[in-house]
């Protein structure tokens, strides 16, 4: 094994480790669809059949939905599901694609997500400090867990971003498309 090969193998190992948080959080978050459906079906039955609506179903609904799309964002980055206008991109050789990705991750992605994480961290921290509740809902649920989803999303995206840059680097070195393990 040459030293180049060893370096690549190390890179792959680091990528595999960095992919873990988004994948595990994503796969867990995916199951939130089940309580979301059940809560709403329960609500529909009690509201329309028994005429006794719950006070919690709507709060639960948007909390689960928001957690799904926010916490799933890093997983979608890993599976390359975020929409690209890629009709030009697809015509380029692998190395150029990797170059474009690496360039925009460093120039756009990291600054934007760093600001997002920093802002929402304080936003959530303030909410925790006041143990803030939602005044507009009859149930008045605590809102700090939902607000904490925002910095968590930022951190997951930042970690996944590092992994994606390493993948681009791997493609630049080997000139081969990266296949996630």
């Amino acid at each position: 094994m040459s030293s180049d090969d060893r370096r690549l193998a190390l890179m792959l190992r680091v990528i595999a480790i960095l992919d873990m948080p988004a994948r595990w959080v994503g796969k867990l978050t995916a199951w939130l669809i089940v309580p979301m459906i059940l809560a709403l079906v329960y609500e529909v039955f009690f509201r329309y059949v028994l005429n006794e609506p719950t006070i919690w179903a709507y709060d639960i609904t948007y909390m689960l939905y928001a957690a799904m799309f926010m916490l799933g964002a890093a997983y979608a980055l890993q599976t390359d599901s975020h929409v690209r206008a890629d009709f030009l991109y697809n015509m380029l050789p692998v190395r150029y694609q990797a170059g474009i990705d690496a360039f925009f991750y460093i120039l756009f992605f990291f600054p934007a997500l760093a600001i997002f994480t920093w802002l929402t961290w304080h936003y959530a921290a303030d909410s925790w400090q006041e143990l803030e509740r939602i005044p507009t809902s009859p149930w008045m649920p605590p809102i700090y867990p939902l607000k904490s989803v925002m910095p968590a999303t930022g951190i997951l995206l930042l970690i996944q971003g590092v992994s994606e840059v390493l993948k681009s680097l791997y493609m630049l070195i080997t000139n081969e498309r990266f296949r996630s393990q």
Binding site: I33, V41, Y65, A66, G72, A85, F87, N90, I100, P111
Partner: protein, 437 residues
């Protein structure tokens, strides 16, 4: 540099940035942040958290993962496959019958899911091999599959209409109701076109051979149709019915529809644990990329409006010496041209709000205008350069050349534009049904 100018520079940068092929959600997020900082400083930070958190608390948009899950479950359950075969046994002798069958299944599928990618994939997997075997020409087949698959973006429950509702300030249920006739009209125009072409030139749609048809009995055909098709139709009809008649919110209906689809798939013994898990994962992926892009585009739209650029554009539009009809056509032409390189999400969240004041000044019904935009945006799936439909189709039918797929789809783009023209000429096609409920 004035604030509106910053907005226009940002819009230009987004256009260039998006075209590089980098995921557009993050391009939008970054450029909106920079433009906001340059224009009105730290206030952009409040706008960012406020816009994201506002979207997170939107219970109408919560219908999106539910409808996605419903669609994936119905897709995985293989029910569409059953419907396709039943119809084929019944209609096989007609010239061009496969076009008709594909389009019927496409309309039902569109009413079940609204996920264009899933529709085209399922239709392609089912129909393309049979179409090739029966000697159907590639271009017409590809065009029919792609155009049929994109009906899902218009026919309710359409994800795009769920997003459009809050933007134009029209209840989603009204948009759903208004989209029904235009959706069926589009499907009808496709059917008429393909059958007419096959009637003129039978080589375009050779009928099934006699022994293929004779191999199944009439009672078996009817049984397949009843067991395979009716329950799906009942679920879809019920889900849409309660929304359209205003009995339940789209989110409530989506949850019950998802639950019923799940029970149905269990009942048919088609849902394994692995498939169920796949449905959950796919729902998460699609929910995440749609809504994260939505949040980013929404944030950009807010920055753009706060910079005053939107207003400048609106005033400019209003100052043009154009009559109402011409103005409408100009706006739809902009949607058409921008729709292909961009996506419907930035169009609906950034471009449509720019048009709204003009729409009001001109006295257009916002409901009618929304449906016109929705039908126009359908073309973006079939028009190169983006032509997303072609990727899904190519993915399941690799031996069709991209060139043939494009040419095949373009004739349907023309049909879509004809329908847009019809809806402009006869607004009642859109407005009649909502007035009845």
């Amino acid at each position: 540099m004035s604030d509106p100018t910053i907005g226009f520079i940002a819009l230009g940068m987004i256009f260039v940035g998006v075209l590089t092929g980098y995921p557009m959600a993050f391009t939008l997020l970054f450029i909106a942040l920079v433009a906001g900082l340059a224009g009105f400083g730290e206030q952009v930070f409040y706008l960012l958290t406020y816009q994201f958190f506002g979207l997170m608390r939107n219970t109408t948009l919560a219908a999106i993962p539910l409808f996605l899950f419903m669609g994936y479950v119905l897709e995985q359950s293989g029910l569409m496959d059953r419907l396709f075969r039943a119809l084929r046994m019944m209609l096989g002798r007609l010239n061009g019958s496969l076009y008709l069958i594909v389009l019927i299944v496409a309309v039902i599928m569109a009413a079940a899911t609204g996920i264009v990618g899933a529709s085209i994939t399922v239709l392609g997997v089912m129909a393309a091999p049979i179409m090739q075997k029966c000697g159907y020409p590639t271009r017409m087949s590809a065009g029919t599959l792609a155009a049929g698959g994109t009906l899902g973006i218009l026919i309710p429950p359409s994800i795009m209409l769920i997003v459009m509702g809050p933007v134009v300030g029209v209840p989603v249920a009204d948009l759903f109701t208004a989209a029904i006739i235009p959706g069926l009209l589009l499907g009808g125009v496709y059917v008429a076109y393909t059958l007419f072409r096959s009637w003129l030139n039978p080589a375009l749609g050779p009928p099934m051979t006699d022994d293929e048809v004779a191999s199944t009995s009439m009672s078996h055909k009817l049984y397949e149709l009843a067991v395979g098709v009716l329950p799906v139709l009942v679920i879809i009809g019920f889900t849409l019915g309660v929304i359209i008649f205003g009995i339940a919110t789209p989110t409530d209906a989506a949850a019950t529809g998802a639950f019923a689809s799940f029970l149905l798939a269990l009942g048919y013994r088609r849902l394994t644990w692995a498939k169920f898990r796949l449905c959950a994962h796919r729902t998460l992926e699609a929910t995440a990329f749609i809504l994260f892009l939505l949040a980013a585009a929404n944030f950009f739209g807010a920055v753009f409006a706060k910079l005053g650029s939107a207003q400048v554009l609106t005033e400019y539009l209003a100052s043009l010496p154009l009559g109402p009809v011409l103005m409408l056509i100009v706006m739809l032409a902009i949607v058409f041209v921008l729709g292909s390189p961009l996506e419907w999400i930035p169009i609906v969240l950034v471009v449509v709000p720019i048009f709204l004041p003009t729409v009001e000044t001109m006295g257009f019904d916002p409901l009618w205008f929304s449906i016109l935009v929705a039908v126009t945006l359908q073309t973006s799936w079939l028009t190169p350069p983006m032509a997303l439909a072609s990727y899904f189709l190519k993915g399941v039918v690799p031996n069709w050349s991209m060139g043939d797929i494009y040419i095949g789809m373009l004739q349907f783009v023309v049909l879509q534009l004809v329908v847009v023209g019809l809806l402009i000429a006869f607004p009642q096609l859109v407005l009649w049904l909502p007035a009845q409920t």
